[in-house]
Symmetry: C2
């Protein structure tokens, strides 16, 4: 959870931003839910200023949206918006993984295997929040080894846009594995140090995971006009 734990010695607004970002990524916030500056400030025990600053940044990140002058709510991605996100991720995530490859050692792969086991166990237990976190950790442990901080930042921004959708997703259809879990292909490619297979495994994971999104969004789209 690296990215989210450094919540100290930072400005209040940065702390709040990190915290909200974490909640978004972890699907703790439903799309469309309204956020009120005053309420949040009160519940956090701070003034409105840092809360507002945090929210504004999330708006710019595309994780929240703001009706012109008025209210702020968790963004509701349309199917097309989701597809664009996926298209961008398809370019960037495999690349990040390939860049990480030279910095992958045995210990790291074992660490990933543990995280993956956690993921599988969580899914078996239907503990979806835990599964989401494990999935995030699996991916970003790898990306962080790329040594490309800017790229990682871009990817995290994309993930927090998608996070809230996961709320709807799990009840709906969620990870439907028709074969072995894609993460296993990823692990295998890492072991073999096969860059092309690695990139392909990431693409497959993304598309595989995306199917449920697309199905869900298609089923919702008609009413999502607002």
């Amino acid at each position: 959870m690296q990215a989210f734990t450094d919540i100290q010695s930072k400005s209040l607004s940065a702390q709040i931003y990190s915290q909200l970002r974490y909640q978004l990524m972890a699907a703790r916030m439903q799309p469309g839910v309204r956020l009120k500056i005053r309420e949040l400030a009160q519940s956090l025990g701070t003034s409105e200023t840092p809360v507002r600053e945090a929210l504004l940044q999330l708006v710019r990140d595309g994780a929240l949206e703001m009706k012109p002058g008025y209210y702020i709510r968790v963004r509701r991605l349309t199917l097309n918006e989701y597809l664009e996100t996926r298209e961008i991720r398809l370019m960037l995530e495999p690349h990040a993984a390939v860049k990480a490859l030279p910095h992958v050692d045995k210990a790291f792969i074992e660490q990933l295997e543990k995280v993956h086991e956690t993921l599988i166990r969580a899914e078996a237990d239907k503990d979806y929040p835990a599964a989401l976190l494990a999935n995030y950790e699996f991916h970003f442990l790898i990306y962080r080894r790329s040594g490309m901080p800017q790229l990682i930042e871009i990817l995290e921004r994309l993930w927090i846009q998608i996070g809230p959708l996961l709320n709807y997703l799990y009840p709906f259809g969620h990870p439907s594995y028709d074969g072995p879990h894609q993460h296993l292909h990823i692990l295998e490619a890492l072991r073999k140090r096969d860059a092309e297979a690695l990139a392909e495994a990431f693409r497959a994971d993304l598309i595989e995971g995306g199917r449920a999104f697309v199905r869900y969004l298609e089923s919702i789209e008609p009413e999502a006009t607002q």
Copy 2:
């Protein structure tokens, strides 16, 4: 300039943000220059709040940097940071162009040709600010046709990081064309509707343009430790 002209009916902080972003992109701000909230607020005739909000967002964009609690200044990219930026752009910009291809018509190409002429003329006149703007316009006119707003947002964020560097660049070595201008290859690929050639032309333009950056940053690097 589309992205920068909608400076009305937006919140003050959004206006200030847009304005600063424009100045960054257009190389109106030197790397390392310090920005003071109070000063800016005064010179803009507003209070500090919206200025601070705008600056914070630019910090998150990586265009400005902030010594922990202390001062805010225009970010100074290291060579490695620049190279990472370029690496990301190399993935995204050619793709954006290819996605734009289906929406390119004759009129649009003529528009691009005009912009390119402006660029060439500006360079001949050594009017570098104008050249920069024309170059920005040339690229983003194309990217905007991709119909991928998120991608464009990501790219603009990358461009405003690089903008300030251009200050140093032009005096230094700047666009050294060893052959025909890369934009001509881009235009040709657009006319032929040749996606692969188009992608390649964008890659070439990026690398070509990047050479001067790299040369400059390498010459500077030793002292840039701070």
